[in-house]
């Protein structure tokens, strides 16, 4: 295999691009996490503090949200896992458009660096949502950098989405019918459509913002006939589907990992596969549930309330299917399995159910834009998406590096992350019920104990990530060879080749005869062969 920096910079190999996405997005995770650590430290006190101004606080939560959504969780799930796994899982040698794939990565890096530059030139300060007129009136380069960054990242995301769709449709190995595709591929397929059809709305939203800021247009200037609500519609027409861009691949990862360590076929393959497509489709009909209080007639929320209730169904189907996969299994609690069971199922369930409160218009009129919402979406993204992403990192690390990590240490990482996450986000539900709005620099003194718990939780989470880096770093240097298939029962195609896989994945394109969830004892297979 080629080495040296040129072999990475000029690579069009989907695996190397995937690894570059992973490393880059993990660096951004550290930036987003550090931002959160700083403003959580401020929130130890309900009052202003001398060492952090309200302006800096606002800058930091804006950077935290933008970085975590656009530079960490979307790229790690679609860019890193999607690129690395999709071609090899469907038995292809690379993506359909390898050079476009490389272009998407470099655009992603560029978009990320543009946003990072705002740490030096002045940060945007209007939250990751960037609502006008505030974002039009806001002075300084911060918001312009934010807009430019989102444009570049959006382009990267659309290119990636197109590439995934074409690859999955045209490059499947012989015998790899749609109903034999690994569930991660199914979930990425659904995600790719969301990327392609959702992102243009975001680009339109931020373009009009830019025009309003610098070219004298009045899209969002109410005094001249514009309407700030137009932006909210455009923004959420992308950003609600983006929630499913964020959660679907993680659900795919869970669906891959559960059967392997439960030593049992996945329960209800088709239900899981098709519910991903259902989520992707329905995902375009719920955006206005972010806007129940935004100035629509309150009853306009009713159809969106009902569609939001309906979209909870495919998610609950998945939860039940996963539980049924554990039922009568022989479950081994490896690190990735802990992330998927207690981690993903345990915490995503909380985030999903708290969403039911917010989907009901009358209750949302109370809880909207309070910390209850912050708690809700962190249970979904932190307890769901990121739990899946970290589980996935632990699951495919031996494949991508050829090295095995220390399993006990991995479990310590899981428990630290799990406890830290719950300490951070569980109290926020109660902040919200008590009426604490989000994005506030000062808050009622009575809520200080809850905020202290959240901040301690944030520190514990930070420690868990540092431990994870040590765990992986140690494995890279001292880890034992992983072998082709360290998990024994993993049946997707990446486990049939060496670790790390050869440059073009397969010497010979494999012929697929069954879906990858026929997990049974080696003896049973032998008996069958003898009987035949």
């Amino acid at each position: 295999m080629r080495t040296g920096w040129k072999s990475w910079v000029f690579t069009v190999d989907h695996k190397r691009i995937g690894i570059m996405y992973a490393i880059t997005s993990i660096v951004f995770l550290c930036v987003g996490g550090a931002s959160a650590g700083l403003f959580r430290t401020k929130l130890l006190s309900p009052n202003p503090v001398p060492w952090m101004s309200a302006q800096t606080f606002n800058d930091l939560f804006t950077m935290h949200g933008t970085v975590m959504v656009f530079l960490w969780i979307i790229p790690i799930l679609t860019g890193a896992f999607g690129n690395y796994l999709i071609p090899i899982m469907i038995g292809a040698r690379d993506m359909a458009f390898p050079r476009m794939n490389a272009l998407a990565y470099w655009l992603f890096l560029l978009g990320g660096l543009v946003l990072m530059s705002s740490f030096f030139f002045g940060m945007p300060d209007d939250g990751w949502t960037g609502y006008p007129p505030y974002s039009v009136l806001a002075q300084g380069p911060g918001l312009d950098l934010w807009i430019m960054s989102l444009h570049i990242l959006g382009l990267a995301s659309v290119l990636g989405g197109i590439n995934f769709v074409v690859t999955i449709i045209t490059m499947r190995a012989p015998g790899m019918t749609y109903n034999r595709m690994p569930l991660f591929v199914w979930s990425s397929f659904a995600t790719a459509f969301l990327q392609i059809f959702g992102t243009p709305a975001l680009s339109g939203a931020v373009t009009t913002l830019l025009l309003d800021r610098h070219f004298g247009t009045v899209f969002y200037n109410a005094s001249q006939g514009g309407d700030p609500m137009l932006y909210e519609h455009l923004f959420w027409f992308y950003s609600h589907p983006a929630v499913y861009i964020i959660i679907l691949p993680a659900m795919g990862i869970v669906s891959e990992i559960l059967p392997v360590f439960a030593r049992k076929p996945i329960f209800g393959y088709k239900a899981i596969a098709y519910s991903s497509m259902a989520i992707a489709f329905l995902g375009f009909f719920v955006w206005a549930h972010h806007m129940f209080t935004a100035g629509m007639t309150v009853s306009t929320g009713i159809p969106f309330m009902v569609s939001s209730m309906i979209i909870a169904v495919p998610s609950s189907i998945k939860i039940f299917n996963w539980l049924a996969t554990l039922f009568r299994g022989q479950v081994k609690y490896t690190t990735p399995m802990l992330f998927c069971t207690l981690g993903f199922i345990g915490m995503f369930t909380i985030g999903g159910l708290s969403g039911i409160f917010l989907a009901a218009v009358p209750v949302d009129l109370d809880l909207h834009d309070t910390y209850f919402v912050v708690a809700h979406f962190h249970y979904v993204v932190f307890g769901g998406s990121m739990m899946g992403a970290l589980g996935g990192l632990y699951y495919w690390f031996p494949k991508a590096t050829g090295k095995m990590y220390n399993e006990t240490f991995g479990k310590v990482v899981f428990w630290t992350y799990f406890i830290g996450g719950n300490l951070t986000f569980m109290p926020m539900h109660f902040d919200g019920l008590a009426g604490m709005p989000r994005r506030v620099y000062v808050y009622p003194a009575a809520l200080q104990p809850l905020n202290e718990i959240s901040t301690i939780g944030a520190y514990v989470t930070g420690v868990s990530l540092i431990l994870m880096f040590i765990n992986f770093g140690h494995a890279l240097v001292k880890g034992e060879a992983a072998g082709d298939n360290p998990w024994v029962d993993a049946k997707t195609l990446e486990w049939t080749v060496s670790s790390p896989p050869p440059e073009h994945n397969f010497e010979e394109i494999p012929v697929v005869t069954d879906y990858p969830y026929v997990i049974e004892p080696p003896a049973a297979k032998l008996r069958q062969q003898v009987a035949h």
Binding site: P228, V298, A360
Partner: protein, 220 residues
């Protein structure tokens, strides 16, 4: 102790409507609470019950069960949609103000609230003034903004509406409790967003009238 804990929960509602919103909240809490207990219990039970004890053991080769899957698709679907449909009446109750309301214009500014009463009284929270409203009478807030989007949120009413430039949003109340209740901005609006709050004072109708006349005389 319980008083200490109640700080971290919904503070008592001050209108009948807010009470109805709380009732819906508790209804959803019970339903989602049951689902939460079912899922988490199954998870923990399965995690313990089906852990691998022998390295060679394999699970049962169960690929699915169509009737079961239909049940756990339909049951949540019916429950969730029922929650939605069940909320519709309340949505209209919130949306439709009763007749005979006192119209108060609420204007969001960076970073204070301005209240304009029908008789011309004009209260701005940046001057340390507090708006007063009568107990037991219908008050309709008509909300807008002159600069950026703000959020007019009164936790004790369980209601909020954004203050959007160029739009007039509204919410109404009929308060049944005397005292001061916080109005908070909950739509991010810039550097002092967190400090954009002011209590509203609920007075008896007579006290309210006295206050209103005083204010009118002050400005005259």
């Amino acid at each position: 102790m319980s008083h200490f804990l109640m700080q971290f929960w919904l503070h008592p509602a001050i209108t009948h409507l807010a009470g109805r919103i709380d009732a819906l909240f508790y209804e959803i809490l019970v339903i989602t609470g049951i689902m939460f207990i079912i899922v988490e219990t199954l998870l923990v039970v399965f995690v313990i019950r089906y852990r691998r004890r022998s390295p060679d053991a394999y699970g049962q080769p169960i690929h699915g069960n169509t009737p079961l899957e239909i049940i756990w698709t339909l049951v949540p679907a019916i429950i969730f949609v029922w929650i939605g449909v069940n909320s519709v009446q309340l949505v209209y109750a919130i949306q439709t103000p009763p007749a005979n309301t006192i119209h108060v214009e609420v204007i969001g500014h960076q970073w204070y609230w301005q209240f304009k009463y029908p008789n011309g009284v004009d209260i701005s929270s940046n001057t340390g003034q507090i708006p007063h409203f009568p107990e037991g009478e219908n008050v309709l807030f008509q909300i807008t903004s002159v600069d950026v989007i703000h959020g007019f949120y009164v936790p004790r009413l369980r209601l909020q509406q954004d203050a959007v430039p160029g739009h007039l949003t509204q919410l109404w109340m009929n308060a049944d409790t005397l005292g001061q209740f916080m109005i908070r901005c909950d739509q991010y609006c810039g550097v002092a967003h967190g400090e954009m709050f002011v209590p509203m004072q609920i007075d008896t109708p007579t006290a309210y009238q006295v206050w209103l006349n005083q204010q009118a005389n002050k400005s005259a």
